[in-house]
């Protein structure tokens, strides 16, 4: 088992404390025998430590207001979105209402027109022979008709 080759991923895991406990002695034995890898592992460990030393103080800083209350600006956004929806609905309602009036007026016109057409139909349809007019050249016929 201990003959299993140590792969680079295990060296990283060793540095990051993510190596399974059972594997540790084998990796340590490997490092004892490979000075160059041991050197790299040491350097990586120092990097981790140095990075934490460098950036951990950020954790203790008091938070700037804009980070502490990030919600003030954009939490309004859903509200604005709803407002926009309501606005468009209202606009649609108004437009629809006016359009309705307009259509009602138009359909009233249509009814009146149909009414006149019906009267005209009743007036003129019984007359089969003279639906429109009699030409001037048919005077005799006109006289006879009258």
């Amino acid at each position: 088992m201990s003959e299993l080759a140590v792969i680079e991923a295990e060296l990283h895991a060793y540095v990051d404390g993510l190596l399974p406990q059972a594997r540790r002695p084998e990796v340590e034995a490997y490092l004892a025998a490979h000075a160059e890898d041991a050197q790299r592992v040491r350097a990586w460990r120092e990097q981790n430590q140095a990075l934490r030393d460098l950036f951990d103080p950020v954790l203790a800083e008091s938070l700037p207001a804009r980070v502490r209350r990030p919600d003030l600006t954009r939490r309004m956004r859903p509200v604005l979105r709803y407002a926009a929806v309501a606005g468009w609905l209202a606009l649609g309602g108004v437009a629809g209402w006016n359009l309705h009036d307009y259509n009602v007026a138009k359909s009233a016109d249509t009814v009146a027109f149909a009414h006149r057409a019906a009267i005209a139909h009743i007036v003129y349809s019984p007359e089969v022979r003279h639906p429109v007019e009699v030409g001037a050249d048919q005077e005799a016929h006109l006289v006879a008709w009258l």
Binding site: Q47, L51, D56, A60, E61, L63, P64, R66, V67, D71
Partner: protein
């Protein structure tokens, strides 16, 4: 809502630490945290109760950060590689040189590698957690971690051997 705010607030210091290490700049880091928190509030209904809220918030921060980097890719590259980084190096007091060196060296590690290095090394996430936060396979986490550590080692070794001015030229 109050409970949610309280849960969020509890993770803010660590988000700030990660953001600071990632961006190397206090203002930019707090911008990132602010954007992350706002997005987390808007997307809170997507969080599954019982799952790790910290990992979820780090995932959001990662996404926000990637978008920001993508949006200003050119500017960031110039800022990191250009002479603009030098005045701080030059003004550094000798007793703080090491800390400054680490900070500068860290910013020279490519972002995607830096993220892994910080999530594992500073935030002490497991490789699985880091893979989840970054949305990458665990094998990718390992290879990025490896490259990040070797890169940082080389940068620090180089920085100690020469003055930073020479390294950058």
């Amino acid at each position: 809502m109050d409970g949610r705010d309280r849960d969020f607030v509890q993770h803010i210091p660590r988000l700030r630490r990660y953001a600071r290490a990632l961006t190397g700049d206090r203002g930019r880091a707090d911008d990132l945290v602010q954007d992350t928190l706002e997005r987390a509030l808007v997307k809170f209904h997507l969080w599954q109760p019982g799952s790790d809220l910290r990992a979820w918030m780090f995932t959001i921060m990662h996404n926000v950060y990637v978008n920001q980097v993508r949006a200003s890719a050119a500017a960031v590259n110039i800022a990191l590689d250009d002479d603009t980084a030098l005045p701080t190096m030059r003004a550094t007091q000798s007793d703080r040189l090491e800390v400054r060196d680490l900070q500068v060296a860290l910013l020279r590690v490519p972002e995607e590698q830096r993220e892994v290095l910080l999530l594992v090394g500073v935030e002490q996430m497991t490789y699985e957690e880091a893979a989840g936060v970054l949305g990458i396979p665990i094998g990718t986490v390992m290879s990025r971690l490896s490259r990040a550590r070797e890169r940082l080692r080389a940068l620090i070794a180089g920085g100690a051997a020469h003055s930073a001015l020479k390294v950058v030229k």
